[in-house]
């Protein structure tokens, strides 16, 4: 089994090298036929990587404990869904998943472009397969997922109970879809530079890739937060931990890229900037993998000591240096076709949004690597606390939230004063009305940051609604369509724009959720015997009896809690603690009662023999808004990427361009 897996990876490594060579060779005059050969090799790499994944999964499912990764991360008693997800529990396994996804995406890119972008494709193939060469070589020669044990154990160690959770099954793959998906826009950008085809063709070809990868990365981050919230029992979902930051940074830069490409499409500006962003995004994806794999930040983190660091660092440096050299050599071709006409215009707002997003990414980067820098400079390992990140994020986040509303309302090139007044009267009135309301609801001016988020959120939402209203009214009046029909047509005719607005609504909801849950959370520790009651943040908690149980794997203590507000029962919660026999590991089972406006979150800390239950109670307002925001953002992104109905006679080469023109900005 080990042999088959290793062979598949080695062959994939060889096929990837061949693909790179053939793709580059096909660029020489008279060697076009090699292009097809290179593309077949891409399918070959995908097939071989799939075989490798299949072998790994077969090993996990059948309990082939001669494999180290099977013995260390699964056991015969592990339920089969978790045996599948145990693949990405190990380091080599998660790299295998990375490489497999890369080969899958490369195959999809080759297939969907088999008749388009023929000039770009050799370089696209060479870049994607070059990355595949790196990963398959690491998997073959540095850390093999098919490493065997000298002594075959009768039973595996099992998967960490913290990871036996549905969110953990989908969070890593989603994150990886994001990371790896962003390799495709990067490859197209390099191809455009290489071949000097620097019009907007490459951008349009990868628009969907970028949005989908961005969406998965964002949802992956959010699901990770949700897992932490439900599983870890500290009542929060985000801690500015280096690994969280590692996923957050490429997401920020990819967000900037999604916006600035529109300026290039529309006005022919920011070409160099866009190249820099796409290179930066992918480098940060690799950097994220590097951070979690290298152990450079091991003093805060539990990643096993690993020898992978230098390889990844080398890869990142090579990619950055190569891409930068390529960009510099192509600078004359990347000249802007237009210049900024006014500081109050759509393109200017996009520019501000880009500066803020990249600035925030830089601040997060700075805070993340500060310990490494300080150790190098002063010999003392100094880290920055959560306060730094909160303090930096707040003003930038507020400014971004304002721009989210303002941007789409301002016209391209130059906005006139009269137009601005006309468009912003409504949203400004809405914000003014919101001020006293917010102050009443939140109970005063003490939480100015959260109050600012709420008021700006209302303003931004009003901006978006007024945009939707304006578009609907125009369609209703001009087309003689019914109101709901006009509204639907709006989305159908310009998916990208109005899908984007839906994403913006999701962003407002997300920010409100973050502000509410960060500023208004309360917590309290209670020690209650049977029948006793305690109070946290206006909720009365009653201990309705503890229980102890056990089965073959674990011992469980649990307590039943009634939650009352104003004399009425609002929830019954059963927090518990499991103690696993084999590993002697504790596992806290949090109980949460969610409502739209707050979560009551209860952790059982312990239950003594004398039936005294110690519990920690958190009342977290608006946490549910975060998860709702994820759904709204996903919906908006889906609208934006949903294919427009094809015109009856689709001419092949120009189809992409005319389709884009029909979709407008």
């Amino acid at each position: 089994m080990s042999l088959l897996g290793r062979a598949a990876l080695l062959l994939a490594f060889a096929a990837a090298i061949f693909a790179v060579a053939a793709a580059l060779w096909s660029r020489r005059p008279g060697q076009r036929r090699w292009q097809e050969s290179a593309e077949r090799a891409v399918y070959g790499v995908f097939g071989l990587m799939s075989l490798g994944m299949g072998v790994m999964w077969a090993g996990l499912l059948s309990g082939a404990f001669e494999l180290r990764n099977v013995a260390d991360y699964s056991s015969t008693t592990l339920a089969w869904p978790f045996r599948i997800s145990a693949l990405w529990g190990s380091q080599a396994g998660s790299l295998l998943l990375w490489a497999w996804m890369l080969s899958l995406f490369a195959a999809i890119a080759v297939f969907t472009n088999r008749r388009r972008n023929r000039e770009l494709m050799p370089i696209v193939v060479a870049v994607l397969m070059g990355i595949a060469v790196f990963f398959t070589s690491v998997l073959s020669f540095v850390t093999s997922p098919f490493e065997t044990l000298a002594v075959v154990p009768a039973e595996g160690r099992g998967l960490n109970p913290l990871l036996q959770n549905g969110y953990m099954m989908i969070h890593p793959p989603m994150l990886y879809v994001g990371y790896v998906g962003l390799a495709v826009p990067f490859a197209f950008a390099i191809a455009a530079l290489w071949t000097r085809r620097l019009d907007t063709q490459w951008i349009q070809s990868v628009r969907r890739w970028t949005i989908v990868a961005w969406l998965f990365l964002g949802l992956g981050i959010l699901l990770g937060g949700r897992w932490a919230y439900e599983e870890l029992g500290w009542g929060g979902y985000w801690a500015w931990d280096p690994v969280e930051n590692a996923a957050f940074m490429p997401w920020l830069v990819a967000t900037a890229f999604l916006h600035s490409v529109m300026v290039q499409e529309r006005r022919g500006m920011l070409k160099v900037w866009n190249m820099v962003l796409v290179v930066l995004t992918f480098s940060l994806c690799l950097f994220g993998t590097f951070l979690t794999r290298s152990g450079v930040l091991s003093s805060v983190h539990a990643f096993g000591e690993s020898t992978l660091g230098p390889y990844f660092l080398g890869m990142i440096v090579a990619i950055l240096a190569g891409s930068l050299a390529l960009i510099i050599s192509r600078l004359p071709d990347l000249r802007s076709q237009n210049s900024l006409e006014s500081y109050i215009s759509r393109e200017a707002v996009f520019l501000y949004n880009n500066l803020l997003l990249v600035g925030l990414a830089f601040a997060v980067f700075w805070g993340t690597i500060f310990p490494i820098l300080s150790e190098a400079v002063r010999g003392e390992r100094i880290t920055v606390g959560v306060g730094f990140f909160d303090q930096v994020t707040l003003p930038i986040g507020l400014a971004l939230l304002v721009l989210t509303g303002v941007g789409p309302m301002i016209s391209w090139r130059k906005a006139s004063g009269a137009q601005l007044r006309r468009r912003f009267v409504g949203p400004l009135i809405a914000a003014a009305v919101a001020v006293p309301l917010v102050l009443v609801i939140t109970g005063g001016a003490g939480h100015w940051a959260a109050n600012a988020v709420f008021v700006i959120g209302v303003f931004t939402l009003a901006c978006i609604v007024s945009e939707l209203w304006r578009g609907t009214r125009v369609r209703h009046q001009l087309g003689g369509v019914s109101w709901p029909g006009a509204f639907l047509q709006l989305f159908a005719r310009n998916r990208r724009r109005y899908g984007g607005y839906v994403v913006h609504i999701g962003v407002v909801v997300l920010m409100v959720g973050i502000a509410g849950s960060k500023s208004f959370a309360s917590e309290g520790d209670l020690a209650l015997r049977d029948g006793q009651r305690g109070e946290v943040a206006g909720y009365t908690i009653v201990n309705e009896g503890g229980s102890r149980g056990s089965d073959e794997h674990k011992m469980t203590v649990a307590v039943r809690l009634g939650v009352f507000k104003d004399g009425e029962r609002v929830a019954t919660l059963d927090p518990a603690v499991n103690l696993y026999r084999v590993s002697q590991q504790r596992s806290t089972e949090v109980a949460i009662a969610s409502k739209w406006d707050r979560d009551i979150y209860v952790v059982l800390v312990g239950l003594t023999e004398s039936r005294l239950a110690r519990i920690a109670v958190f009342v977290n307002p608006l946490v549910g808004w975060l998860w709702a925001a994820g759904l709204i953002i996903a919906l908006g992104a889906l609208i934006a990427v949903w294919p427009a109905p094809r015109p009856a006679l689709a001419p092949v080469p120009g189809a992409a361009r005319s389709g884009a023109a029909a979709r407008g900005d």
């Binding site: 529990g89 929060g236 500060f370 920055v384 003003p395 960060k518 520790d525 806290t588 800390v605």
Partner: protein, 150 residues
């Protein structure tokens, strides 16, 4: 002219951003240290890193919520003679036990390390072979975020 104005606007933004980062970083510095490195008693915030000495209470989570807090000893990873007593309150990670590597944030007072509430983080020692990889493990070690509006 236009270019010059643009350059000025950009550098202004850069200066503002730099100022923001600088002032924010000032108040939140924490120095990594082993038990022997906890020299300053002027309120310097340390992230103490070491191993939980033998004899840590089994009911750690309950004690950390009790009136006296959880008391345990952290020893240097290499030098077993170098140790410090820690007083801690707040949530205790499930993996806390004697021999585990921990990071805890706080400051020295009267020869005792006073930990910040909820700052206790456990690391997986590399010997513990079931080291789960990357994202899956990390939040287990995440300290509790202080819920203070900024």
């Amino acid at each position: 002219m236009r270019r010059a104005r643009f350059a000025i606007a950009l550098s202004l933004a850069a200066v503002l951003g730099g100022w923001l980062v600088w002032t924010s970083i000032g108040g939140s510095l924490e120095t990594y240290s082993s038990p022997a490195g906890l020299q300053r008693t002027d309120g310097t915030t340390y992230r103490l890193n070491g191993l939980v000495a033998a004899g840590a209470p089994v009911d750690a989570a309950e004690r950390a919520q009790g009136p006296d807090g959880l008391r345990f000893t952290v020893v240097d990873k290499k030098d077993a003679e170098s140790r410090v007593t820690v007083v801690y309150r707040g949530s205790v990670p499930d993996t806390f036990q004697s021999g585990r590597e921990v990071v805890v944030t706080g400051h020295m007072r009267d020869g005792v390390f006073e930990a910040r509430r909820g700052s206790l983080v456990t690391l997986c020692p590399s010997k513990f072979k079931a080291k789960p990889g990357e994202e899956q493990q990390h939040p287990a070690n995440v300290p509790k975020t202080p819920v203070t509006p900024t």
